[in-house]
């Protein structure tokens, strides 16, 4: 049962991913990206990484793809078709990705895989919360607090740049 679902979603991910990069309409590419992201979330749910699936849906599908769509809308001629790829570029892209794929497959296949021991424990949200908040037992409090400063800096940086551009536009 799981295997069937896994293959369905994998095919969806691959197909949508290919459409994302080959589509010459930038809106469509963004929508296909959304579908890819949602299918990846489905895979997470399938593997019972519930929290990761939720993060994928909320941040990537709900936030980042929307942001990308907004960015597309900001450009001048978002409706027009992108120019088709030349032969040179296609060949170069295939060569590059092919090389990368070969290298990684070579490495991964050369790896001795030992069957895991013991049951797989689904990381519950409570466990994740505990790890996030624990001060002593391998907790991640420090990066957690550091991220708040990172988000603050990101917000300030974005506002400075975007406000600057909106001023010059008016």
């Amino acid at each position: 049962m799981k295997a069937i679902l896994f293959y369905i979603f994998s095919v969806l991910i691959l197909a949508c991913g290919i459409f994302t990069v080959t589509s010459r309409k930038i809106y469509r590419a963004a929508i296909f990206l959304l579908l890819t992201v949602v299918s990846v979330a489905a895979l997470y749910f399938l593997m019972e990484y519930t929290f990761l699936g939720v993060v994928q849906l909320v941040i990537y599908a709900g936030g980042i793809v929307v942001l990308i769509l907004f960015a597309v809308l900001l450009t001048h001629d978002s409706g027009s078709l992108l120019p088709p790829l030349g032969v040179k570029r296609t060949v170069a892209t295939f060569a590059l990705t092919g090389t990368g794929l070969t290298v990684f497959l070579y490495t991964i296949l050369g790896r001795k895989v030992e069957p895991g021991s013991g049951e797989f424990n689904e990381p519950s949200v409570k466990m994740i919360g505990g790890q996030l908040l624990d001060l002593y037992n391998f907790g991640f409090v420090l990066p957690f607090e550091a991220i708040s400063i990172l988000l603050l800096a990101a917000m300030v940086g974005c506002i400075v740049l975007a406000m600057k551009f909106s001023k010059t536009m008016n």
Binding site: F104, G110, K112, L142, L150, G157, V160
Partner: protein, 471 residues
């Protein structure tokens, strides 16, 4: 426990103070005054570094600090202070001066977390925090297309390199089963089993580091970004940002990968030769001062790699010492470029012709900085490079030292080219005499003194040596 985090706490406090001071409406709109207070606060922040740091671990190895790390943070604080002083002329007319400081301090905080990290996650969070706001800073110049372009190029490249870096870290985590440096060192023992995937993951991690230090072949973004960004940010990128990643690179190599030395030594050797040589060859042809300094800083990164290759306490201390001198000499050079750019908007080498007759003091400082960057004996730069080469000699890398020496001779040519155009060439319209603000003059005097004096106080190097460690 929280005393150990004090460098970071002060910076967070600074961020909050700046934010509150900006949010609570002031009566006077006098910007120079608030810039004055910001610089005072940064100075106090720097002074706090003199309080000795104890060694300690927090949050289960998530955060580690000792005297060497304290010194590294202090150096970065010091560099940031000098850049802040130099930026005064540029910032006093800028509406967004407050945001500039907020972003700058956030990156500094990220660097501190990164230097103190003994855990891959913290390392990554720190690295992101140190680079993302920099992209906003690079695009900071209002109404400048080139600045926006530089910001875009910086963010795309740093996102790409972060992704590669993160992938490498994930593979490393998969192999060792631990995020902590010390545990990783035990697992990464260099036995042939799993050597293949370790090689790949380390290659990815090194690529990530290489992008940030801009070593060849990961340097392609450097010149464009440096050219377009405001001068203060360019100097920040080339000195502070680069040095901080060098520090992290050292602790990553010397702690987490201490048993993998046969793997990373050839990598560093090849890249250091490439970096020195290509950086120098490209620097020969540059006309724009910022581009020129960009390539010169690439070449300097190559020398730093030689110091790292020393893989001993001598190697580490020589790199820290070199960074101190690099702060003085490169910030001295950038300071002059920055002052001239703020006053006249000129950034090309041809504009500097005949500058000695109109601005003798600035020309002298630039002369000293160039000598120091080239490593001409009486200046501090000579000693910095000497110690790094000595560290490499300790391991018997004589061919590498020979190549480095050849490169230094090549570099002498283009450093002297600038000196020639300032002192010997005649120009119809040299840069007119001007007086820069007291802030940038203070910064320039500090650099001036640093370049002359650092080499002669052997105590500084001895101190660095006493706190450093090797493999």
């Amino acid at each position: 426990m929280l005393v150990l985090l004090r460098y970071e706490f002060i910076l967070v406090a600074l961020i909050v103070i700046f934010l509150l001071a900006w949010l609570i409406p002031g009566k006077s709109e006098d910007r120079s005054l608030s810039l004055f207070w910001i610089n005072v606060l940064l100075f106090i922040n720097f002074l706090f570094g003199f309080i000795p740091v104890e060694e300690g671990v927090l949050f289960n190895n998530m955060f580690y600090t000792n005297e060497a790390i304290g010194v590294q943070k202090m150096l970065l604080n010091f560099g940031a202070l000098i850049i802040s002083l130099q930026a005064y002329d540029w910032l006093k007319s800028n509406r967004n001066a407050f945001e500039f400081y907020l972003l700058l301090i956030s990156t500094l905080l990220g660097m501190f977390f990164m230097i103190s990290a003994r855990n891959l996650l913290m390392l990554y969070v720190g690295l992101e925090m140190a680079t993302l706001p920099l992209a906003a800073l690079a695009a900071f110049e209002t109404d400048s297309k080139r600045s926006a372009e530089s910001g875009i190029k910086l963010i795309l490249n740093s996102v790409l390199s972060s992704a590669i870096f993160l992938f490498g870290l994930a593979l490393l985590y998969g192999e060792t089963g631990s995020l902590h440096f010390s545990d990783m060192a035990g697992k990464l023992t260099g036995n042939p089993d799993g050597y293949r995937d370790t090689t790949l993951s380390l290659l990815l991690v090194f690529t990530g580091f290489g992008f940030k230090i801009s070593i060849v072949p990961f340097h392609l973004w450097t010149a464009d970004v440096y050219e377009g960004a405001p001068v203060s940010i360019t100097s920040y990128l080339s000195v502070i940002s680069k040095s901080s990643v060098v520090f992290v690179f050292i602790s990553f190599l010397y702690i987490a990968l201490k048993n993998m030395a046969p793997l990373w030594i050839p990598f560093l050797m090849v890249t250091s030769v490439l970096t020195m040589t290509l950086g120098n060859i490209f620097a020969l042809r540059q006309q724009n001062m910022k581009r020129f300094l960009a390539f010169s800083s690439i070449a300097q990164a190559g020398y730093i790699l030689i110091g790292i290759l020393g893989a001993s306490a001598l190697g580490m201390s020589s790199v820290i010492f070199f960074v101190l001198i690099y702060i003085f000499s490169n910030l001295g050079a950038f300071g002059v470029v920055s002052v001239i750019s703020a006053q006249t908007g000129k950034e090309n080498l041809d504009d500097y012709k005949g500058m000695y007759h109109t601005n003798p003091m600035l020309s002298l400082l630039l002369l000293l900085s160039m000598f120091s960057l080239a490593g001409v004996p009486p200046t501090a730069g000579f000693f910095g490079k000497l110690f790094m080469l000595m560290a490499a000699a300790g391991k018997g890398y004589y061919i590498l030292i020979l190549i480095a020496a050849l490169n230094m001779i090549i570099s002498l040519y283009y450093y002297l080219r600038i000196i020639k155009s300032m002192f010997m060439d005649k120009s119809e319209s040299p840069i007119a005499y001007f007086r820069s603000s007291i802030y940038s003059r203070i910064a320039l005097v500090i650099c001036f003194a640093g370049i002359i004096l650092t080499g002669f106080f052997s105590g500084i190097f001895d101190y660095f040596y006493s706190i450093s460690f090797g493999i």
